[in-house]
C-alpha cells in the first residue's frame, strides 16, 4: 500500500511540492492527493499581472490538468479542505470528502491583508491575489475613471500598473514616507517615486486612510490629515496574512501574529504535518516570495524520500520590474557593523544604486538598485558567497550596456557551490560540468541542467558563465580599450554618464592608469562629446589630428575643408562663395560622394582664415573630420521628380540639421529617397529613408564601404514625427552600445537578436529606455554648436593653428604641382626634382 500524502492548497508552492516529490519518489511509494480551493489548478501568481496584458489563465497555469493525471496525482479542484482530524489523521472538505493521510502538508498560502478601515466593504474595493480578483476588477473598472491603490510596496506598485493598464487615472497611497519602505532607503524611494510619477501614476506618501466614503459604492478616500481623494475604485495591497484558519482549528501552534509555526524540517507542532510557502512561519518570519517557498517544498520532498534536508531561512533579496523600472534590493542596507556606502545617484538617467560594503571595502553587505538592475545577479552572488570585492567596487554598479553582468568580480571567481539558478537549485559546478560534458550552447545548458527555466532571472549569469568557460577552453578575447583603461568603450560610456565625469584627467585618475594614448584619448573625447556635447576643442589634447584641427589631414600634412551642405541643396550665391574662397587660397576642388564640395590643400595656418570667411557667409562645419554624421544624401523627390511621393530634400535637410555634429562610435551616413526607385541609395546607409504612399520607411545599418551591407527594414509607413523619434532612439542606442570604431553594420551583425531585437527596443520599448534615449538625443540636439564658429572666436583654440610655435614661417616642405588646371601634392620624387631645379 502506498503512503498517502495530502497537500492542502494547490498554489505555486503546493504545486512545486507535488512536482518535486514526483521527481524524487522513484520507488513510487507515495500517493499524492491535493485540495485546490480555487476553480483551477495552480498558476503563476508572480506573473499575474500579465493576465491584463492578454495572457490567459491557461497561459499562466503551472501545469495542465493532464499533468496531474499522468502523474497519478488526485486533485480536488474547487474544493476547500475545511477541517483536519489529527487523531484520526483525516482531512474533511467542504464538498464532504473525508480522506486519510500518512503525512499532511499545508501549502495554503496567504490572503491579502485588508486593514479595518470603515467602508472597506463597499463595492469597488478589491484585493489583488487571484485570477478571480482580476476578472472582478476588470468588470468593475469599465464604469470607472480613477483608481487608488492602498500600499506602495512591491505588490501595490504592481497593482497600480494593472490599474493604469485598465486605462484608469491611478493613484498610489502609501502610509510610510516613501515607496517600498521595506526595501528602499530614502534616496532610492524618492527616485522611484519620480520615475513612477513620470509614468503617470500619482503617488501620495504619509497618508493614512481613515474612511472610505460612498453610498454603497466607493466615491472617495478620506485621510487622517483631513484631505480627500475622489476615486471610483480601490485596490488594497497593504500586506499579506497567512491562511492559517484550518491549522488553527486543528490545534497546530501558530505564531503570535498568525502563521503556522515550523522548525528547520518544516514540521509543525504535529510530527506528521508540514507547512510550506506563505502560510509557514519560520523563525518569526513569513516569506512572501516564491523562491523561499520552493526551497521549502524541495526540502520536504527530500525528507519524504529519506534524505536529509532542512530549511535554514532564505534571502529576501529581490529584483523586479515595477512599472517598467528595474528595482532590486539585497542583503542588509543598514548593517550593525561599521560600513561604507557607494552611491550612484543620477536622476537624469533615472538611476540610483547603492552598495553597502564593510569598512575595509572588501565585503559586500547589501545594496539597492533602482532604474537599472543588470548588476543584480552578480552582486547577489558576491554578497551570498561573501567574496572579496575588486579593488574599485564602484565598477560593479557602473552599468554594462550590453546586458551582460558588469565588470569586476566575474562569474569565474564564484565557488563551484554558488547557486546560480535558485528556481531549480542549479549550482555553478552543475553548469560547468554540463559544459565539460559537451553542452555547447546556452540552450543546451538549459536543457540538461534546467537552469534558467524558472523565472529566467539567472540567465545573465548563466550566459556569463558560459562565455567564461568557452574563453577558458579557446580564444582569449580582451575587451579592454587599451592598457590605460580596463574597460570597453561601452563601459566607459556608462561610467561617464553615471558619474558625470567631464574631463579626461578625472576619468584617468578615477578609472584608468598612466597618461593615456591614441586609442583611449579619442574614444574618451568622443564619449564626452556624445554625452555632454561640449565643443570638441575644449580638450584638444584628446583628439586625433582630424578632430584636433577640425579638418582632415591629407597625406602631405595639409588639410581639407568641407562645409556642410544639408541634403545637397545649395544656392548659387553660396556656391560662388565656395568658389571664391577656393580661388583665394589656391585650393583643389572636388564634388564628394556625399553631395557636397571638398577643398583640398589648405595649410594649417590657413584653416582659421578660410573658415572665418565660410562661417561669416553662413556655412557650418561639415564634420567630415569627425566620427559623426556626414551627409544625408537626397534625391529631388516629389518637389521635381515625376515619380516622387515624398519631399526627400526637405526631410533630408531636417534630418541632417537635427543630427549634425553628434559624436558617435564611428561615422554615420544617411540618405532619403523620394520613392521606391531609390535614387539616393538609402539602403546602403547607416540609416536610410524611403518615401512611400503613406509616409516613410526607415532602414538601418547598411554600409557602402569596405564590406557592403544592405540595410534592414526597421519600420514602415511612419509619419515624420514618429520617424524622427525612431531615428533618435536608434542612434542613441547605437552610441550607447557599440564598440569604438564600430560602424552600424558591424554593430548589427553582432547584435544579439539582430533586427528583431532592435525593433523591439526602438518600437516596443522592450528595454524601457526609450524615454531616456530620447531625452539624451534632445539634449545633444539642443546644445549643438558649430565647432568652427566656436573656434574662430576663441584665440586660445586658434593658438595651435600655425606650423611653428616660435616663428611665423610656413612649412616649406609642402609642395604642389599642377594637374588638370588645379593643384595636387608633389610626390617624393617630384619634390626632389623641384629642389634640384
Amino acid at each position: 500500500m502506498k503512503k498517502k500524502i495530502i497537500v492542502i492548497g494547490n498554489g505555486m508552492v503546493g504545486y512545486k511540492f507535488c512536482e518535486r516529490l514526483k521527481e524524487k519518489d522513484t520507488d513510487n511509494q507515495y500517493q499524492i492527493i491535493t485540495f485546490c480551493e480555487e476553480p483551477r489548478p495552480a498558476y503563476d501568481r508572480v506573473h499575474l499581472s500579465e493576465y491584463f496584458a492578454g495572457k490567459s489563465a491557461e497561459d499562466l497555469s503551472m501545469a495542465k490538468l493532464e499533468w496531474y493525471k499522468e502523474n497519478d496525482i488526485e486533485i480536488h479542484i474547487g474544493d476547500k479542505a475545511s477541517s483536519v482530524d489529527r487523531v484520526a489523521k483525516t482531512v474533511t472538505s467542504e464538498k464532504g470528502l473525508t480522506l486519510e493521510y500518512d503525512k499532511l502538508v499545508f501549502a495554503t498560502g496567504s490572503s491579502a491583508f485588508v486593514p479595518p478601515v470603515p467602508g472597506v466593504d463597499k463595492s469597488g474595493v478589491f484585493v489583488y491575489r487571484t485570477i478571480e480578483d482580476l476578472d472582478d476588477m476588470m468588470e468593475y473598472a469599465k464604469d470607472c475613471k480613477t483608481c487608488a491603490v492602498i500600499g506602495g510596496g512591491l505588490l501595490g506598485l504592481e497593482a497600480a500598473k494593472a490599474a493604469q493598464d485598465l486605462d484608469l487615472e491611478t493613484h498610489c497611497v502609501e502610509f510610510a514616507p516613501r515607496l517600498m519602505p521595506r526595501q528602499l532607503d530614502e534616496a532610492g524611494g524618492t527616485l522611484l517615486k519620480d520615475i513612477i510619477e513620470s509614468r503617470g501614476i500619482k503617488v501620495h506618501l504619509n497618508k493614512s486612510t481613515k474612511n472610505i466614503a460612498g453610498d454603497g459604492k466607493v466615491t472617495a478616500m478620506e485621510f487622517a490629515d483631513d484631505t480627500i481623494l475622489e476615486v471610483d475604485m480601490i485596490i488594497v495591497s497593504a500586506g499579506i496574512r497567512p491562511r492559517d484558519e484550518v491549522a488553527r482549528e486543528a490545534g497546530l501552534t501558530l505564531g503570535p501574529r498568525g502563521g503556522i509555526l515550523v522548525n528547520d524540517s518544516l514540521l509543525t507542532s504535529d510530527p506528521d504535518i508540514f507547512a510550506i510557502g506563505e502560510c509557514a512561519l519560520y523563525e518569526g518570519m513569513i516569506y512572501g516570495l516564491v523562491a523561499p517557498g520552493y526551497q521549502m517544498a524541495d526540502a520536504v520532498a527530500e525528507q519524504l524520500v529519506g534524505r536529509d534536508a532542512s530549511f535554514e531561512g532564505a534571502d529576501m533579496s529581490t529584483k523586479l520590474k515595477l512599472i517598467g523600472t528595474d528595482v532590486a534590493s539585497f542583503g542588509n542596507i543598514e548593517p550593525q557593523v561599521p560600513f561604507k556606502e557607494l552611491v550612484i545617484n543620477d536622476p537624469h538617467s533615472a538611476i540610483y544604486k547603492k552598495l553597502v560594503v564593510t569598512e575595509d571595502g572588501k565585503t559586500l553587505l547589501g545594496g539597492i538598485l533602482v532604474g537599472d538592475a543588470d548588476a543584480y545577479g552578480n552582486l547577489l552572488q558576491l554578497y551570498q558567497n561573501e567574496m572579496v570585492l575588486p579593488e574599485d567596487p564602484m565598477q560593479l554598479i557602473l552599468p554594462a550596456s550590453d546586458g551582460s553582468a558588469p565588470g569586476g568580480a566575474g562569474v569565474s571567481d564564484l565557488p563551484d557551490s554558488a547557486q546560480i539558478c535558485s528556481c531549480e537549485s542549479v549550482s555553478k559546478g552543475d553548469i560547468c560540468s554540463a559544459i565539460e560534458d559537451g553542452a555547447c550552447s546556452i540552450s543546451d545548458i538549459k536543457k540538461c541542467t534546467k537552469a534558467g527555466t524558472g523565472c529566467g532571472g539567472c540567465m545573465p549569469l548563466v550566459t556569463d558563465l558560459f562565455k567564461a568557460k568557452m574563453k577558458e577552453s579557446g580564444v582569449e578575447v580582451s575587451n579592454a580599450l587599451c592598457e590605460h583603461f580596463d574597460m570597453t568603450r561601452q563601459e566607459m560610456y556608462q561610467t561617464v554618464r553615471a558619474t558625470g565625469i567631464k574631463t579626461f584627467d578625472e576619468l584617468l585618475e578615477k578609472h584608468g592608469k598612466g597618461t593615456g594614448c591614441e586609442t583611449c584619448k579619442p574614444a574618451a573625447a568622443s564619449i564626452f562629446a556624445s554625452t555632454w556635447n561640449v565643443p570638441i576643442l575644449e580638450q584638444p589634447s584628446l583628439n586625433d589630428t582630424n578632430d584636433a584641427f577640425l579638418a582632415n589631414m591629407q597625406q602631405d600634412g595639409t588639410y581639407s575643408v568641407i562645409p556642410r551642405i544639408p541634403g545637397g541643396e545649395i544656392t548659387p550665391d553660396m556656391l560662388i562663395i565656395i568658389g571664391e574662397v577656393s580661388k583665394q587660397f589656391g585650393l583643389y576642388m572636388k564634388i564628394t560622394g556625399g553631395q557636397r564640395i571638398d577643398m583640398f590643400g589648405a595649410k594649417l595656418h590657413e584653416l582659421p582664415e578660410i573658415w572665418k570667411i565660410l562661417v561669416d557667409a553662413g556655412f557650418e562645419s561639415g564634420h567630415a573630420y569627425a566620427k559623426s554624421l556626414r551627409t544625408v544624401k537626397s534625391c529631388v523627390g516629389s518637389t521635381w521628380c515625376r515619380y516622387g511621393v515624398g519631399d526627400a530634400v526637405g526631410l533630408a535637410i531636417r534630418v541632417e540639421n537635427r543630427y549634425r555634429g553628434i559624436r558617435s562610435p564611428h561615422k554615420l551616413k544617411s540618405a532619403v529617397s523620394g520613392c521606391t526607385r531609390e535614387c539616393a541609395e538609402a539602403q546602403s546607409k547607416d540609416f536610410g529613408i524611403i518615401a512611400t504612399e503613406h509616409g516613410w520607411n526607415l532602414y538601418v545599418c547598411g554600409n557602402g564601404g569596405m564590406k557592403p551591407r544592405h540595410t534592414d527594414l526597421l519600420a514602415v509607413d511612419l509619419d515624420e514625427e514618429t520617424l524622427i523619434k525612431y531615428i533618435d532612439r536608434f542612434l542613441m542606442y547605437y552610441i550607447k552600445t557599440a564598440d569604438k570604431l564600430m560602424r552600424t553594420s558591424t554593430w548589427m551583425d553582432q547584435l544579439e537578436g539582430g533586427i528583431e531585437h532592435l525593433k523591439d527596443v526602438v518600437i516596443n520599448d522592450s528595454l524601457g529606455i526609450n524615454a531616456e534615449l530620447e531625452a539624451q538625443m534632445e539634449h545633444l540636439v539642443n546644445t549643438y554648436e558649430c565647432e568652427w564658429k566656436n573656434a574662430i572666436n576663441d584665440p586660445e583654440k586658434l593658438k595651435r593653428f600655425k606650423h611653428f610655435v616660435n616663428c611665423e614661417d610656413t612649412d616649406e616642405t609642402i609642395e604642389f604641382v599642377d594637374e588638370r588646371g588645379q593643384i595636387r601634392p608633389a610626390s617624393h620624387e617630384e619634390k626632389k626634382q623641384l629642389v634640384e631645379v
Binding site: 590605460h484 598612466g514 595651435r800 606650423h803 610655435v805
Partner: protein, 111 residues
C-alpha cells in the same frame, strides 16, 4: 654645432599635453610636454614612415609608463625619451634633442 642651449619659446606658448613644432637653424623640431607640462621632450618633426612633417600634431600618451607619440598619419608610435620606433614594421628611429625649462623658457640643444 655646439652645446649651446637655444630658446624656442615660453611655456605658455605650448598647450598642455600636446606637441608644437619649432624651427631651429632651419630644422623642424617637435616639442612635447606631458603630465601638464611637467616633462618635456623634443624629437624631429619629420615622421620617417612616409617622410611627412607632422609628428608635432600627433597624440601623445604612454606605453607601460614610457611616454610616446603616435603619428597623426598612420599611427606609427615612437618612444619620446629615446626616439625609438615602437610599432610593427621597419621604420627608422627619431633623432631626439635635450630640452630644459628655465624660468618659463624652453631651451633645446642641437647636438
Amino acid at each position: 654645432m655646439s652645446n649651446e642651449w637655444i630658446s624656442v619659446g615660453k611655456v605658455e606658448d605650448f598647450c598642455k599635453d600636446l606637441g608644437g613644432c619649432v624651427k631651429v637653424d632651419g630644422k623642424q623640431i617637435a616639442v612635447f610636454n606631458v603630465k601638464e607640462k611637467s616633462e618635456w621632450y623634443a624629437v624631429q618633426n619629420l615622421c620617417p614612415h612616409d617622410n611627412r612633417m607632422v609628428l608635432s600634431r600627433g597624440l601623445i600618451g604612454d606605453a607601460s609608463g614610457t611616454p610616446k607619440v603616435a603619428c597623426p598619419l598612420h599611427k606609427h608610435n615612437f618612444d619620446l625619451k629615446t626616439g625609438e620606433h615602437v610599432s610593427e614594421g621597419d621604420v627608422d628611429d627619431l633623432t631626439t634633442y635635450p630640452v630644459k625649462v628655465e624660468e618659463g623658457t624652453i631651451y633645446l640643444q642641437m647636438v
